[in-house]
C-alpha cells in the first residue's frame, strides 16, 4: 500500500509519519509537496502535524487552500483513507471535510505529553485492530486542540458513531472529550493525538501501530476481494 505524506511549509511531523509507514509498517510512503496536483498514484493520504503557514490567521486556514487540497478532496470522495493528525485535523476541519473546529486549549497552554484515549468506535477502517472501549496511550502536542461543534453537529456525530477517540480525562476543553472524529462515509479521520509517535517501544509505546495496521488490513482485504 502506498501512502502520500503531504508536506506544507511548516509541517513538522511529516518525518515521523513517513517513518511509521516505511520503517515500522513496511509499507510504501512518499513525501508530497503542497502544490502537487495529482494524488491518483496513492492509496492513502496522510496530513501530518505541525504549524502549516505558521498557523497564521487560524491553524489550517491557509493550508486548506493549498493546491494539493483539491486532490485530497478528490481522494476523500473516491473513498481512499485520509488521515489528518493534529495540524492535519485542523486542516480537514477548515476544509470542511470534517465538521467542527479546533480552538485554543481552555487553559491557553501548549500541552505535550502522553495521554489515555478511549477507542469509542472500533468498526472503522482506521480502528479495526483495536477493541471497542480499549484504552490506549498516545502522545498529544498541541495548543489548539479544543474541539468545538454546535449541539446539532454533536448529536449528528453521536448518532452516526463518528466519534472515534475520546480523552480519558479532559485537559484541553474539547466538547465531550472528543479527540478524533470520522466523516459520515468513514474514510476521513481527524485526530489531535499523534499515533505516528507511538509506533515503537524505543519512543515510549506502540499503541499507535494498530491504527496504521487497520488501514493496511482494510485496504488489502478490499483489494483482494475486488481482484
Amino acid at each position: 500500500m502506498k501512502f502520500a505524506v503531504i508536506v506544507f511549509p511548516g509541517s513538522n511531523c511529516d518525518l515521523d509519519m513517513y517513518h511509521a509507514i516505511k520503517d515500522e509498517l513496511g509499507e510504501e510512503a512518499e513525501y508530497v509537496w503542497h502544490d502537487t496536483h495529482d494524488l491518483s498514484g496513492y492509496d492513502g493520504i496522510l496530513l501530518p502535524g505541525g504549524f502549516s503557514y505558521g498557523d497564521y490567521l487560524r491553524a489550517g486556514a491557509i493550508a486548506r487552500f493549498a493546491g494539493v487540497m483539491d486532490e485530497v478532496r478528490k481522494a476523500a470522495e473516491a473513498g481512499k483513507p485520509v488521515l489528518g493528525v493534529c495540524n492535519g485535523f485542523q486542516i480537514l476541519t477548515e476544509a470542511g471535510l470534517l465538521p467542527g473546529m479546533l480552538m485554543r486549549n481552555k487553559d491557553l497552554k501548549f500541552t505535550c505529553r502522553t495521554v489515555s484515549l478511549k477507542v469509542e468506535n472500533a468498526h472503522t477502517l482506521f480502528t479495526n485492530e483495536y477493541k471497542e472501549g480499549e484504552e490506549i496511550r498516545i502522545p498529544v502536542a498541541h495548543g489548539e486542540g479544543n474541539y468545538y461543534c454546535d449541539d446539532a453537529t454533536y448529536q449528528h456525530l453521536k448518532d452516526n458513531n463518528q466519534i472515534v477517540f475520546t480523552y480519558a480525562e479532559d485537559f484541553n476543553g474539547s466538547r465531550n472529550n472528543i479527540a478524533g472524529i470520522i466523516n459520515e462515509r468513514g474514510n476521513v479521520l481527524g485526530m489531535m493525538p499523534h499515533p505516528e509517535r507511538a509506533v515503537s517501544d524505543l519512543i515510549g509505546g506502540t499503541d499507535g501501530l494498530p491504527l496504521f495496521r487497520s488501514i493496511v488490513k482494510q485496504w488489502r482485504e478490499s483489494h483482494v476481494s475486488h481482484a
Binding site: 477548515e94 480552538m103 487553559d107 468545538y148 454546535d150
Partner: protein, 84 residues
C-alpha cells in the same frame, strides 16, 4: 480604491479562553466593573476598483478565509480612499 476594515470575533455562544484570562487579570487589577472580555481580530484590506461589487466581494473573502463561521462572526466597514 477602497479601504476595508474587517472585525472578526468569536460567536457569542463560544467560550473565549483568552478573553476569560484577560478579564481575570483585569479583575485582579481591581477593575471589577468589567463584565466580559471578548478577543477578536482586526484586519485592513485595500481593494482596487474593479467590476465586482465590493460588498459582495468582501463578504466572500470573509466567509471563505478571513473568518471561520463555525465559531466566528465578522463585520466590516468600507471607506473610499482618494488616491493622491
Amino acid at each position: 480604491m477602497k479601504k476595508v476594515k474587517v472585525y472578526v470575533t468569536l460567536r457569542e455562544s463560544v467560550l473565549d479562553p483568552q478573553g476569560s484570562a484577560v478579564m481575570g487579570s483585569l479583575h485582579k487589577m481591581g477593575y471589577d466593573e468589567v463584565q466580559d472580555v471578548r478577543i477578536g481580530k482586526y484586519m485592513e484590506l485595500v481593494i482596487g476598483d474593479g467590476e465586482r461589487d465590493v460588498d459582495a466581494l468582501v463578504d466572500e473573502l470573509c466567509s471563505r478565509l478571513l473568518a471561520n463561521t463555525v465559531i466566528e462572526d465578522y463585520r466590516y466597514e468600507i471607506e473610499e480612499v482618494v488616491s493622491q
